[in-house]
Each structure stands twice: as C-alpha cells, then as structure tokens.
Symmetry: C2
Subunit: 268 residues, 2 copies
C-alpha cells in the first residue's frame, strides 16, 4: 500500500481510498465500485463532508420506519461491506429484527461469499442472499434475484449505495425504500421513499443511535410521512450555497503568478 | 467484462467505466485512479457533460500558449493514457514541438513502461519520463522526479488530471501550467494559469483543433493573459444553474408512492 505524507491536505481521503483499493485486491470490491466511491466523494465534498440538518431528519424518519417495519432488511454490496461492516453490525444490535442480505450488482458466488465473510467478521451473525431464488420483475439477468427470507418478504428495505434500476424495481413491487446516497439527483435518491443524502459511515452510525432512541419511545403503528423531494431539494440547496461561498472565497484567492524563469523565445 | 443492457440510462458511462476497469487489470491504471475517475464523472454530470463556452475559451487560450511555447510538454499518467491515448497522439501531430512525458503519482518502473507502451501504440513516437533524474523541489519521494529533456526544461506544461501538490510545485518553479480538471475548486484548477474545466477526451480533441487553427494565424511572441479565477467562477456558476434547474424539475417529479403490499403489522 502506497504511503502518503501526513501533510497531504487530503490525507484522510487518501487513506480511505487505499483501504478500498485493498478491498479490490481481495475481491471484495469490484473496479466499478471504486469509480462509484469517487462519485460519492465528489458529492460529499460539495456537501461539506458533514451530515446536514436535513439528512439528520431523514435519518430520524428512517429509524422510525425501520422500527415500525415487520421485516426490515438492509441490502449490502461490496463497497458497503468494505466501508461499513462494523456500522452494519451495530445497526443489527440496535434493531435485532433487521435482516442483512448480500446484493451485488456484479454478482459471482465467490464475491457474495466474500461479502458475507466480511460481514460475519464484523459481527453480523446471519447473512442472507447467498442463494437468492426469488426474482424481482423488471431487472435483467441475476441482478433481479433476492432472498425469499429477506428482501422478497421485506416491508422496508434499506439500500445504501444502490443502483437506480434496482431501487425503482423495489418500489414497483411495493417495498418501502430507504436509500443512503450522496447524490441527491440520482435515480436511487429520486425513487426512494426516504433518501438519506449523507456519507455511508456517518449515516449508519447515526441511524443506529436513532433506532435505539426510537425503541425507547412509545411505539408507533404506522409509518410517519416523509417528504423525499424536500430532502433532496435541501441537499441541492446546500451544495448551491457552498459553491457560492467557494466562489467568493477562492475566486479571489488564485495564487499570484510566480516569476517566470523562461520567457518564450521561440519564433521571435 | 460484465455486459450491460443497452437500455440502461447510463449505458455509455458504464462502458467507459468497464474500459478503465480493464486498464486496471492490465496494470495501466491504479485503483486510486478509478476513484479519481469517479470524482471527475460527478463533476462532469453536474456540468452537463458538455464543453461550456467558458471551457471553450480556456482551451483557445491554452492552444495559444502551447503554440507560443518553446518547450511545451504534456504530462501523462495512467488514467490519461487509458482514456485518451489517440487524442494525445493527435495533439502531437497538431503541434510537433510538444513533448510527451510519463508522470505517475504511483510510480513503478513497470507502470511507467506500460503507460509509454500505451502511448506508443496510440501513435506517440517519443515518450519521455521513463528515467526521470531531475527533482522538483517541495515534492516528497519519487513524485518530484521529472525528465531533464521534458518537464525540467519546459516553459509550458499541460497537466491533465494532475495532483494538486504537483501542480503547485510546477508553478513554484516558474512553469506556466495549463490544467485539464473537471473540479473547478481543486487545488490543481486553482493553481493552474489556465484551468480547463472540461472532460479530458473532449478537451484534448478540441485543443488539437484549436492548435491547428492557431498555427495558421500570424504568430504571437508573447503569452496572452488568461483570467483563471473567472474561468473557475464560470464553471461554478454553470453547476449552480444546473442544480437550480434540476431542483425545479425533479423536486416536483418524485415517483408517486406505489400501493403497499404489506402494511406494518408488528407491535400492534
């Protein structure tokens, strides 16, 4: 693993990236997963790398839905396992009814087993989705396969970092969908009932705390309403505000031109 | 290589990603390069996946600088070689004074050789940077090494997809720097004299055409001024405008809730 100077302004990002690169070498993550991580990084950077007030409200609503649900399931892909194994284990401890299902966009039996092994190592005792047999209509090839004990019978599905096609398909078959996705314009964020526009690790950590708090409150019997469009609009407004500030701040702070060592001498 | 349904709304992106994933398998690209590509993708998406009027002006200025320069050099890393080999060859045909130098953030002799091989296969006859011996001050480890026949003596350096530290170091030693970088807030964009905020392949293709046009004009002897801060501000304004539009359009178009198959029955 390449070493980075601690003085590098993006040291933390570089280390997380190197971790994903290692997960790639062991076959937990696919190359396309690294590209997806880069997209998420860009949005997190634009959002200020913190959980917004609006994301915080979405996480609170998500916690309520998960506690109300009869069969809540979290869908886990390679990136999610590589980045947030311990946070998923903590969420299951906070909500023992939550099932964990491996769901891979690029599925091979070996990768599914590696994702499950990573989850078990992080403390998740039961992992579904290793032998999915139920087909979700509208999804080509094996991307439509889900576990009959998991997503197939779920009432609420939590999809962190999910593909838009799959999120839409889950909605079409009547699932309540909570997404965690940093892009407020993605098809996943648009299709989800509750789009949590936040970074995976931050969101899952906060979600586990909210679930514990919710379980201590008088119990609800129905799903409180959530305005997903407003949540996404708020995330877009946050980005807009930050860009406007950056524009003010950095636009005027371009480095002054250094002395030129070599004037152009060609074609005099 | 995974096959994608042509009906997928992001089919083209998926194919480009798969190409980079293949470049990873052959060792041309490093995992961190895929993450960087993802970040660039996000910004291109926000910019509308087209060359803006402002980027077009930056490319025109870049063409003028390259034609005025005595020793112009383009610095090439693994991603650049994987994504734009033919475009670089075309740029060298348009401007035979342009030297091509391999410059890797994650350097090994094997990778440098693979990048050079890819460039030669694309039609670049001379590739520098395989045995760099001159050190650029302020850059730790072998990241500071450049070719004495290339960047070390260059007056204008074109850095597509460059690390911020290195761009700043080139400026400190008095090089005129043209960057191609989709993030208008990156340290590379801020440090560059001419930040071209555009996608690599589009920008290089257009740059070659502008260089040919410039060489047909009466020849200049000095570098025309360029306002990099204004160019970056314009890119930020483009993103802001597009987000505002997206907000109007998609905010109100969230999918209507489908019928629910399973009402919550738990804890009645």
């Amino acid at each position: 693993m390449t070493r980075f100077p601690r003085s590098h302004p993006r040291y933390r990002s570089l280390v997380i990236r190197a971790r994903l690169a290692d997960a790639l070498r062991t076959g937990l993550v696919v190359p396309e997963g690294l590209i997806a991580h880069g997209r998420a990084e860009a949005f997190d950077y634009l959002l200020g790398e913190r959980t917004s007030a609006s994301a915080s409200k979405a996480i609170q609503a998500a916690a309520r839905w998960l506690v109300v649900a009869r069969f809540p399931v979290i869908s886990v892909n390679g990136n999610v396992a590589a980045l947030a194994g311990p946070e998923i284990a903590e969420l299951v401890r906070a909500l023992p009814t939550l099932s964990v299902e491996v769901n891979l966009f690029h599925r091979t039996p070996g990768r599914a087993a590696r994702v499950a092994a990573r989850l078990r190592a992080a403390g998740v005792s039961q992992v579904l989705g290793l032998h999915p047999t139920v087909r979700v209509p509208g999804l080509p090839s094996d991307r439509g396969l889900v576990d009959r004990r998991g997503i197939a019978r779920a009432d609420v599905v939590l999809v962190p970092l999910e593909d838009g096609d799959r999120t839409q398909a889950l909605r079409r078959i009547g699932k309540r969908v909570i997404a965690i996705d940093l892009n407020p314009l993605s098809r996943t964020s648009v299709a989800a009932d509750i789009p949590v526009v936040d970074e995976l690790g931050r969101a899952l950590g906060r979600l586990a705390r909210e679930v514990r708090a919710e379980r201590r409150r008088p119990q609800r019997r129905s799903y409180p309403a959530f305005d997903g469009a407003a949540a996404r609009a708020d995330a877009l407004a946050t980005i807009n505000r930050r860009l406007a500030t950056a524009l003010d701040r950095r636009g005027s702070r371009a480095a002054p031109a250094p002395p030129r060592t070599r004037p152009a001498r060609r074609r005099r």
